[in-house]
């Protein structure tokens, strides 16, 4: 009996959002069994992967108990009923430490709940814990966390070199890929959902800017930050995005629009659709494996009935430098709030005055990459340099958005690779900041234009590591993005998963 039961518990962790939701609803298993299975998987992996900053097994069980009681009482169940998820530690969770992976917020326990996390709990999801990330979501490898690196569950064959799970949502991607969470929240400022999804062989969508409320999400760059789901497949992302999205009067940039029924609208038939292939994304020295998977993706969408169209996005090469002015500028303003007065760390050297306390607190609490970006942001916003850097960047940003608007007059979606390479080893790119920034070359343009974009697994590199394909859509056309991604997913037949070495 015990063996059967333990096997069944393992099986549960192989299931995704839709299967768990449907199994709980049909009574095939209880939400409590699901939560217990994932709690055990989380605990077993924590020492090796460091995917979570704190785990909350009791919260997962409490949410599951409510779902089981509601089902027993014959009450209607939510969209995510019985599905335990990981919550990126950028979302404020009432009564549970929220750090943005920075020492400056260590010990901060929000007295309120972020809108997105509240919507997920209202939909019947439970919380397995708070997921590790790059500090203040600034990074592409999860190496800037104040709470240690997340280790990707993926390895290059028998080589035990620790690989990056991507960033900034690296805890989220590692947890979903390792089957210790069926899904997780992510946030995406310049690629922080899509690049980690690509690195770990999972799916993730950044919706249109304004779809998901930013209220209660620790701010990095307010004109770019957007929350979204990370899960094993396109359907699971559609389900979870429905639960996360929606108008919120507490976020001034939230869009006052109804949430479409994305799951019900899924349709992989691409006949009559035009897919744009931007020639500027064929960058010099593009990794051969990445180039090949892009060709595969083009063939798959053709097979699904789409017409492939060569397009031009002429300002593509300026997207990264634009981003690395705008994002640090906004970050330097947003992070001014961490002053050692109202919450978080305080460093008060002997005899220090108020200004010295601010400076000492911020020196002690922020990591190197965060400081670097605050300094860049402060510089580009300072008197005498504002127009040359910041205003110029906002103008170029307008041109980048116009490029997309023009392309979408002809095409329905755009297909590109998600990242310029498969996952790299931890430490490999941490010496030169600009080299790390180049990881976001394919994801940043859509962020600057506020467009919905998704990464789905395409296949494996020669080293056996996942590669992602990236679908960009028109503003508010998450359905078009999900559908093209589904067409790719059905043809890629991606079934590889990391061997369990932890």
């Amino acid at each position: 009996m015990r063996n059967n039961r333990s096997e069944r518990m393992t099986d549960l962790t192989e299931l995704g959002v839709a299967a768990l939701r449907d199994g709980v609803a049909s009574g095939a298993f209880t939400a409590t069994e699901v939560a217990s299975a994932f709690n055990a998987a989380v605990e077993a992996a924590q020492g090796a992967l460091n995917a979570f900053i704190v785990t909350t097994p009791d919260a997962a069980l409490a949410a599951a108990g409510k779902v089981d009681a509601a089902r027993a009482a014959g009450q209607p169940l939510g969209k995510m009923a019985g599905v335990p998820i990981g919550m990126k530690d950028l979302f404020a969770t009432k009564g549970v430490q929220t750090t943005a992976a920075s020492k400056i917020l260590e010990g901060f326990v929000p007295p309120y709940e972020s809108t997105v996390s509240q919507k997920l709990w209202d939909a019947g999801a439970g919380m397995l814990g708070k997921l590790n990330l790059d500090q203040f979501a600034m990074g592409s490898s999860n190496e800037t966390s104040g709470f240690g690196n997340v280790i990707s569950p993926w390895r290059k064959g028998d080589d035990t070199t620790p690989l990056a799970p991507g960033g900034s949502s690296g805890g989220s991607s590692a947890a979903v890929a390792a089957r210790i969470a069926p899904a997780a929240t992510g946030t995406d400022t310049g690629g922080s959902i899509r690049q980690p999804a690509a690195f770990t062989g999972i799916s993730g969508i950044k919706p249109t800017y304004g779809r998901c409320s930013r209220w209660g999400v620790v701010a990095f760059a307010s004109s770019l930050d957007q929350a979204g789901p990370m899960a094993r497949d396109v359907r699971d992302c559609a389900i979870m995005l429905e639960a996360m999205a929606g108008f919120d009067p507490k976020d001034s940039t939230s869009l006052d629009l109804a949430v479409p029924a994305w799951e019900a609208g899924l349709n992989a038939d691409m006949r009559g659709k035009k897919v744009g292939i931007p020639r500027e994304y064929r960058v010099d020295g593009l990794d051969a494996d990445v180039a090949k998977s892009w060709e595969d993706g083009i063939a798959w969408l053709k097979d699904a009935g789409a017409e492939i169209v060569d397009i031009s996005l002429p300002h593509t090469k300026y997207a990264l430098p634009t981003y690395y002015i705008i994002a640090p500028a906004e970050a330097s303003s947003n992070l001014a709030r961490y002053d050692g007065v109202r919450y978080g760390l305080r460093d008060l050297p002997d005899g220090a005055n108020l200004q010295e306390m601010y400076a000492a607190t911020r020196a002690a609490g922020f990591g190197d990459e965060v400081k670097r970006r605050i300094l860049i942001g402060t510089y580009v916003l300072s008197a005498g340099f504002y127009d040359a850097y910041y205003t110029q960047a906002q103008k170029v940003r307008a041109l980048i958005a116009q490029d997309f608007a023009k392309a979408f007059e002809t095409v329905d979606v755009i297909l590109t690779p998600t990242a310029p390479s498969a996952a790299f080893a931890l430490g490999q790119k941490s010496t030169d900041p600009v080299e790390m920034y180049l990881n976001d070359v394919f994801s940043v343009p859509a962020s600057l234009a506020g467009l919905p974009a998704m990464s789905v697994p395409a296949g494996l590199s020669r080293d056996g590591l996942p590669l992602g394909l990236h679908v960009i859509g028109r503003p508010l056309d998450e359905q078009g993005v999900l559908n093209a991604s589904l067409a790719l997913e059905q043809r890629a037949q991606f079934s590889a998963k990391p061997g369990k070495w932890w």
């Binding site: 326990v109 929000p110 007295p111 309120y112 249109t208 800017y209 304004g210 004109s223 009067p249 001034s252 300002h315 090469k317 300026y318 430098p321 634009t322 690395y324 330097s332 001014a336 007065v341 109202r342 919450y343 978080g344 760390l345 305080r346 220090a352 005055n353 108020l354 200004q355 010295e356 306390m357 400076a359 911020r362 922020f366 400081k371 670097r372 605050i374 300094l375 860049i376 402060t378 510089y379 300072s382 340099f385 040359a388 850097y389 110029q392 960047a393 906002q394 103008k395 170029v396 940003r397 307008a398 041109l399 958005a401 030169d432 900041p433 600009v434 600057l448 506020g450 503003p475 508010l476």
Partner: protein
Amino acid sequence: MSVNTADVAKIASLARIKVSEAQLEAMVPELNGILAWVEQLGEVDVTGVTPMTAVIPNTLRLRDDVVNADPLTGGDIRDAVLANAPVAEHGFFGVPKVIE
């Protein structure tokens, strides 16, 4: 444009981040690397282009002029506001003396 040690010290002071001499030395080439790279934006012809202010057209809403319309973001929650303060005394945030 490039920055020197004095510039970085000034920026760090504006950003209220204490940096040691050694850290300043290390930051100068890093920041110059980043600035040299973003410099390429200068070559883009932006004549007549309006700087972007919103990615998705949206109008700012005004909240109803009602006291405590949303209890979460309204008043009467002093203790909750102070709960995470490193130093809170007598219902206030505590800071080092600012008036001599």
